[in-house]
């Protein structure tokens, strides 16, 4: 017993309507009528699928993040310094494939809960990597892992947002991931072109 075709159609319509409308006019000013009209769905139908606007957004987002998590399964991080290698590239590729929805999420639309969940999960994962690393190498981290994780994830997301918002894509996903990797290894002085320390 597969899911009813009608419900699939309706959910897709609502999803697409929400995403396109948010990109056009922002989440806050949208009315449920706006969404149902764009989706060509009756008002009552909307409420049979979700409690309200936020709920719709949450569901749509949850689906996407689950998809990402699935894509991340089995992609080992060979760099061992917090999500720098293949997983990062996988994230960028996924984001490119689902560009509009990622833009909506990364803008912190809605009440910002989806974005917070996204970042917080990432921070948790990355912080764990940092801690584990300091155990296996037997060296003390020179900066608190929690702080380090926040910095790194903040950097990733800011760059990802920027990359997705540009219109001709400034560079392919591979190059973007590579830039971030280099930055992580060598620091910003190196990246900005100087030869020595400040």
């Amino acid at each position: 017993m597969a899911e009813d075709r009608r419900t699939r159609r309706t959910r897709r319509s609502l999803r697409d309507a929400l995403v396109s409308l948010v990109l056009e006019r922002g989440f806050a000013t949208l009315t449920v009528d706006d969404i149902t009209e764009r989706a060509d769905v009756a008002r009552a139908t909307f409420y049979s699928h979700c409690r309200d606007k936020d709920d719709l957004f949450t569901r749509v987002t949850a689906d996407l993040l689950q998809e990402l998590a699935a894509g991340l399964e089995g992609v080992a991080d060979e760099t061992a310094v917090g999500f720098t290698g293949k997983p990062l590239l996988e994230l960028f590729r996924h984001a490119e494939a689902e560009r509009d929805l990622y833009r909506v999420i990364l803008r912190g639309e809605g009440d910002g809960k989806p974005l917070r969940m996204f970042t917080d999960e990432s921070v948790t994962r990355v912080a764990a990597v940092f801690r584990e690393r300091s155990v296996t190498t037997g060296t003390e981290p020179r900066i608190e892992p929690e702080l380090l994780a926040r910095a790194w994830v903040g950097e990733q997301f800011a760059v990802l947002r920027w990359w997705l918002e540009q219109d001709p894509r400034p560079m392919p996903a591979e190059e973007l991931a590579d830039n971030l990797r280099m930055l992580a290894v060598h620091g910003r002085y190196w990246a900005s072109g100087s030869d020595g320390a400040p």
Copy 2:
């Protein structure tokens, strides 16, 4: 003719009510009545000061950012790699002094416009520093300045948000700024405790 004492009082009340309520319950669910009740101000008075909730938030934020800009005047950045030295410390000190309002802004409350303005201004400033630097040293940046600026500002803001949300303050502003400076110079491998490259 200084500003009427009554308007000062009213504006302060509205400001404080907004900030405390947003911290308690988030911006989206707040009603104008909630704000005016907490501020102990008549509904009509609210509308004689601002068009709506968002407008109030915008004004409050604009005041704060202007204050910050004033504080940044005359504080030269001796590191020349994008807002890493004294200006960063100045930002952290100001944020600590106005903790609650900063938390509200950095959470991206409202329509997120204040936060966007804040970050975009910072990015512009920092990108300019990177470009200028590559001119004076005569070396080519190894990573696009725009990307570098996004990464750096994203890192700053993520860390600042984290720092302000912790309850016993994890470290003084000086130490935080110092950590970020070191991270910028040496990169994340160094910071996480390893001795060599990956």
